[in-house]
Homo-oligomer: 290 residues x 3
Amino acid sequence: MREPAKQGEHCVIGRDVVFGENVTLGHNCVIEDHVRIGADCYIDSNTIIRGGVTLGDGALVGANCLLGECGADFRGDPRHQELPLTIGEKALIRSGSILYGGSVIGDHFQTGHQVTIREKTEIGNHVSVGTLSDIQGNCRLGHYVRLHSNVHIGQLSVVDDFVWIYPYVVLTNDPTPPSSDFAGVHVHSFAIVATGAIIMPGLDLGQDCLIGAGAIVTRSVEPYAVAVGNPARVISNVRKVRNRVTGEPVYPWREHFSRYMPWEGTEFDAWYAALPAEEKTRYTLRDLQE
Amino acid sequence: MREPAKQGEHCVIGRDVVFGENVTLGHNCVIEDHVRIGADCYIDSNTIIRGGVTLGDGALVGANCLLGECGADFRGDPRHQELPLTIGEKALIRSGSILYGGSVIGDHFQTGHQVTIREKTEIGNHVSVGTLSDIQGNCRLGHYVRLHSNVHIGQLSVVDDFVWIYPYVVLTNDPTPPSSDFAGVHVHSFAIVATGAIIMPGLDLGQDCLIGAGAIVTRSVEPYAVAVGNPARVISNVRKVRNRVTGEPVYPWREHFSRYMPWEGTEFDAWYAALPAEEKTRYTLRDLQE
Amino acid sequence: MREPAKQGEHCVIGRDVVFGENVTLGHNCVIEDHVRIGADCYIDSNTIIRGGVTLGDGALVGANCLLGECGADFRGDPRHQELPLTIGEKALIRSGSILYGGSVIGDHFQTGHQVTIREKTEIGNHVSVGTLSDIQGNCRLGHYVRLHSNVHIGQLSVVDDFVWIYPYVVLTNDPTPPSSDFAGVHVHSFAIVATGAIIMPGLDLGQDCLIGAGAIVTRSVEPYAVAVGNPARVISNVRKVRNRVTGEPVYPWREHFSRYMPWEGTEFDAWYAALPAEEKTRYTLRDLQE
């Protein structure tokens, strides 16, 4: 065990804790047993890291966070065992967030405040999860997925790469509540789900589709379709949507927008064409022409 | 005052605090004056328990919780007095939850994370309140009520036994906002309110009714009715709803589902018939035939 | 630096911190460098106040709060500098709330629990922000604005004086998500936005208008109009809305309701007529007759 380069007052550090170089802890931090913290990490005050957590190099963890939280019966259950939580490099986890043990999260992960991520969640690289979002566990998020504030991802959901989900969206999973016959939603690559949409259990939202704000989606939506209303109806194709001011087309968005994306500074097609074949398989991209 | 069997670092314990046998405190806990904690409880790090709280045996309280929170003007108000909060046996209160003083909560209570429960809330036994749910106080929840994540229960709401409420549902209470003429919603036994439904003030949701996802409910709903849409319309009877895969009927759900329920392992009718007469009166069950 | 009149255990206080008379700190508080705390303040346990915060006299700050939070790259960014956060007199900030540096907030400010307020937010006097509300920054709230629980205010929003916004309302800002062409919503004075309404980017909600629960608003709404549905349609004028019990008119609400308002105890017209001319300009009130 290397000591932190610097730590605040009243920290409590358990056994078998390994710190990389240049780690700083705030005040009142609790680091439990069997934790691995990479180099150049900053852990802010009042944060608790439970046994079994591995945090990659360059992480920033805000105040009042709880990493590696235990399941339902935590301390009272004699069967309790540490569930490993692995977080990749350069994470930015904002204050008040709670991440359970039993998940694997990629590099460049970012959260807002007061986020909850339950166990058995698999998250790719460059994913952002907004303030107050609630990922219920037992689900999978691809690379470059961006969840805005207060998104609810039900168990068994699958969200492919490059998907954008906006505030107060819910991916549901119980077709006849209450039941045990859960069926997750599958959101395909490049889809956009606008504010307040609710997606019924087991549906597919096709690649590059656009779900309008407040839509209650009761049937699967085809790729490139625009669906709005309660219940949602397909009213258009994304290629027909125009910027209100400029009149220019705006979808598929990957042809017009690149912020936070790996093709920032170039174009999507050029970026994708230049990927080595073995890297192309990293992304869940299928035929990109309609 | 018995000492905790075990406590972490930097805890602060007030006067007239009584611990049962085998209580464990994490680090940095603050237990204020006049608190009663039952046997076999675990209180995790950074949790604050204010004066006047009584916690039953076998409770697990997660990190960063605040039990017995004071009302509006808390410390600055010279009229401030401790408001007792009583929580029954075997509670599981997950991290980040805030429960005000001035409420009474039954046995086997369970919360998710970051829950808020205001004063003058009366909660029965075996109730579960999901992550980020916000119970505004001055309301009543029966036995075996299950609120999923991010449910908003307005003041004056009454929720009877065996009700299921799903994420982002709101029970409103002000017919002509802003006003002081509040009227609470009454959700009757066995009703199901699906994701994102909003219920207008003062309405009754009848026993065993099913409110669809995203419904904006502007009139009371009869028992056994299915209501969907904005504004909500009754479109069917719950007995006509079928499991999409098996084609089997699924409602009333108590005839087909028993997880978390007292008739788990038997059937509802058998369980109910076998209840002693004096126990039957514990539940708000009326004529269960349509 | 004056010492706090009273402080709990394990507090950490930085350099160049100035306390007014009669300040009390709870346990485990962290007050960083360059903080100004006015007289008669109470800061509850586990709260962190970062560098650059100025808190007016008579503030009550609940437990587990974080005032002056840093932006995206906080501690890891060598360019990090303290962003001043200024909060006026008599604030009541409830537990778990996170307020970023870089905002200016008026007197008599009040929050619920777990509120998030990002940087570059300008807030007037007598504003209340409910539990779990999320103000995304770069926006402006006038005087006497009241946000209920779980309201989401997108960047670039402008909310004028005396506006009421109810739970799960979202003011959106991206007309063609994802894009960088943000356009904020402007909610004019005295408007009421009921539960769960979603307002599309760049729209105006006119003075005294009433947006119904669950409305998906896709066009600007005229003053005094009542809009409901998905998509929202104007169905009436607020002057035609009656109290269901008494049959009395209830809107414009300022003529019938005064709780929390400066005309409490008198009438709006009398209060407004008696304002000195130079004070009238403080409010964003235009022609108040239809």
